[in-house]
Amino acid sequence: MIVAGPADPVIALRGVSKSFGTRKVLDRVDLDVARGEVHALLGQNGSGKSTLIKILSGIYEPDRNESGAQPSLLLRGERLELPLDPTRAAAAGITSVHQDLPIVGSASILENLRIGRFRTGRGWRIDWAGERRRAAAALQQFGISGEPDQPAQGLAEADRAMLAILRGLQGLPADRPGVLILDEPTAHLPRDGVDRVFAAIRQVAERGHCVILVTHRLDEVFAISDRTSVIRDGRISHVADTARTAERELVHAILGFELGDLYPDHQERTGDVVLRAEALSGQRVSDLSFSVQRGEIVGLTGLLGAGHEEVPYLLFGARSGAAGKVIVGGRTQDAARLSPREAMRLGMALLPADRREASGVGAATVRENVSLPVLDRFFVSGFLRRSRERSEVQRLLQAFQVRPPEPELLLSSLSGGNQQKALLAKWFQTRPDILLLHEPTHGVDIGSRRTIFRLIEEAAAAGTAVVLFSAEYADLANLCSRVLVMRHGRKVAELSGSGLSEERILALSMMNEQASPGGRIGIGHGEPATEMTP
């Protein structure tokens, strides 16, 4: 469905095309956003939506058409010359917050917020007192629980996301409508964090600014957006008022075909217990005990900071300060002594949530990333057999529906969803007895999510015990046979059978939390601290 845009848009983009080499990523795309409108931009990984917003923020140049109409951009009725550069985009009041939340951890919250915009007093000295006062007010207004002088690395993910948005807001003009572009601002946030980000988005829209929201989550689209555009294969395949659009219609516009069931049929299986945690404790987790059977899919969830995001790293020996016992296949291990190497030897595999920092190396090829845990297989009589390695990786990429299935591409040149499928292949091929998956579908488009869910179900059917650490309640309710809910580092509930539903998980996670939604927590995303500080 393509419905005409608003009569008097703040921003009107016309006829934008972009090619990389011979590949056409955008093909004559139009986009209109009105004053005070939240416009959702959807599409699969690699559909061209990121390219579109990069053109809007002046990072990419649109193609010049050899014939016919040139691309054009009208902002508040004025014609802006394309290509933009980042400085001119910023001066025109177009500001964007990128997915990776560019926050400098070692700098203070105030510095992160104001860098490049510090107000100066006499002799170019920064007016610290004034800056601090204004920052404190802004933090309070957006419910960010932190002090201006505190280092940003102590902030919880949700607060970091809010801080990045707050910084984006400061680039909006005060006296006329500006454009705020948010690229998956909620990708790493649990439900309560999402609500806070939405409240902030509404405030921005109420002030008359346009918000362009790039997201993969359809529930978010319906919750926050006024209008929706879908890009498929570089073209707008759908644009309409969100309220008049059905979810099925959106999914069809994104994929180009009917999705069918997102979740695979789940078979209940029981078998021997292969993994047992006893009195497991870490920074946040305390005294957690649970067990997982062969062929079972078990979920571990909670709000951010509830502790579930720490558990996979404790089980895998990737975090210092662990205590308790991990019992794998009847053999008891001291959690404090476990190392990732040892965990792998015991038959465990871990897919970390942090794709760029903990899961894969973007500057290495897909082949090198995928074969890393099983390199010894290709080391035959003193030589690493590359052609064997390449064909094996290629086979895996095909089996895991990675597009393109090209082992020699750099990992970073794949879209997020395809990177994730390749990294799943990296771990699935080790044929682990126990598969620990931390947020396996974050930043992954809906088609890839469906593939990943099927792969998980297949692995379980083949006898792998899967533990899913996630804050995607709908996924958990549909994939798992049991879900453990954590609060404040402790297990508070175990849901299974008819008692297992998205609503129940949400209710149990949130219980007693309404008083202080998204309270500040000391730990980050769950990656072990091996990085050195200079």
């Binding site: 792998m344 903990a358 090198e368 890393l372 090209e406 040149s413 091996t530 050195m532």
Partner: protein, 339 residues
């Protein structure tokens, strides 16, 4: 380690996307330019000097000199890229070479130790220094740049402490090993070549090499993939120290004497060669053939300019200038390719 990572990722941009990634069976001009730019530049340099000075530069003796005289630099560069690959610096090598050299001179000449015992002592010292570097860097967690710079300075001073003046008359069995000529080139060259081959084998054909690369690219990813990151980091620092002792042994053999100033000029050049080499062959990665060619590119340039009448100052100017220029060009090429 951000310094090193920045350095390498700069040139790592040389393969920014699908366009430059290796794809079998297709000829890519940009890829060839980025991979073989340095060897081509080296050949052009040789060609230029040959035309400018056909009698002296283009002589057999001169080439034997170019390849033989700077073999120490090849050995040290190979030692240097081992820790660089896993993301660590070893700036203590030049100091270690000085101390080892003086130790060889004093023990062999002044104390008349047999050369075998002397070498055993020297390699033991290198092992201790490497293990100490590794302990402080890996176990305690201090930045390797700082630790090894300090250690190198300490050792440089210790070399003067052992003997402030040069010592001549080092065992002939050692000088014979380094100076014997094969096809007109000193044996030292072949030791450098051998080390390059060994390191090439490790890097390209063993899981160890791949694991080291991932450790350098992302210690986090490597550790979570079951790689014993700390062991590789420690091992690489010990390997570079042992290579330093080997370089000192060759230097003592080539010179036939020990002088506390002899290794002073070797602090920066192996570093320059390592980074310069990382722009070629496998752009974006420290690699032995790139480094090997980089050493001889630098040496050829300096020898050629000296033949053309430029005196001692040219050495450092050329080392520094070539490094800055090469890294800059590879960056510009990468940006061009991207757009």
């Amino acid at each position: 380690m951000s310094g090193q990572n920045d350095g390498i990722s700069e040139s790592g941009q040389a393969e920014p996307s699908a366009s430059v990634a290796r794809r079998p069976g297709r000829l890519d001009v940009g890829e060839i330019a980025s991979r073989y730019g340095l060897p081509i530049a080296w050949l052009l340099l040789i060609l230029g000097f040959s035309i400018a000075s056909p009698d002296i530069f283009l002589s057999r003796a001169n080439f034997a000199n170019i390849f033989g005289s700077q073999a120490i630099l090849v050995v040290m560069t190979m030692g240097m890229i081992v820790p660089l690959t896993v993301g660590e610096f070893d700036l203590s090598m030049a100091g270690l070479v000085s101390t080892c050299l003086m130790l060889i001179g004093v023990l062999n000449v002044n104390y008349a130790w047999p050369i075998g015992a002397v070498l055993a002592a020297v390699f033991l010292l290198a092992l201790v220094v490497g293990a100490l570097n590794a302990f402080i860097v890996v176990r305690i967690g201090v930045n390797s740049l700082v630790v090894t710079l300090g250690m190198g300075t300490l050792l440089m001073g210790a070399a003067y402490g052992i003997s402030g003046v040069g010592i001549i008359g080092i065992s002939e069995s050692l000088t014979a090993i380094a100076r014997t000529r094969l096809f007109g080139i000193q044996m030292a060259f072949y030791f450098g070549l051998l080390l390059t081959l060994i390191w090439w084998y490790v890097q390209r054909f063993t899981p160890l090499g791949r694991n080291m690369h991932f450790t350098g690219a992302s210690p986090q990813v490597a550790r979570l993939s079951g790689i014993d990151v700390d062991r590789l980091r420690a091992g690489s620092l010990i390997a570079s120290s042992l290579t330093g002792a080997f370089a000192a042994m060759l230097l003592a053999g080539v010179l036939g004497s020990a002088d506390p100033n002899a290794a002073n000029g070797y602090l920066l050049p192996p570093f320059a060669a390592a980074f310069l080499g990382a722009t070629a062959i496998t752009p974006g990665r420290f690699n032995p053939w790139g480094a090997f060619i980089a050493v001889y590119f630098l040496v050829t340039g300096i020898v050629g300019l000296q033949i053309l009448g430029l005196s001692g100052w040219i050495e450092q100017v050329f080392y520094g200038g070539a490094l800055v220029l090469a890294v800059t060009l590879s960056r510009i090429a990468a940006d061009r390719l991207k757009s």
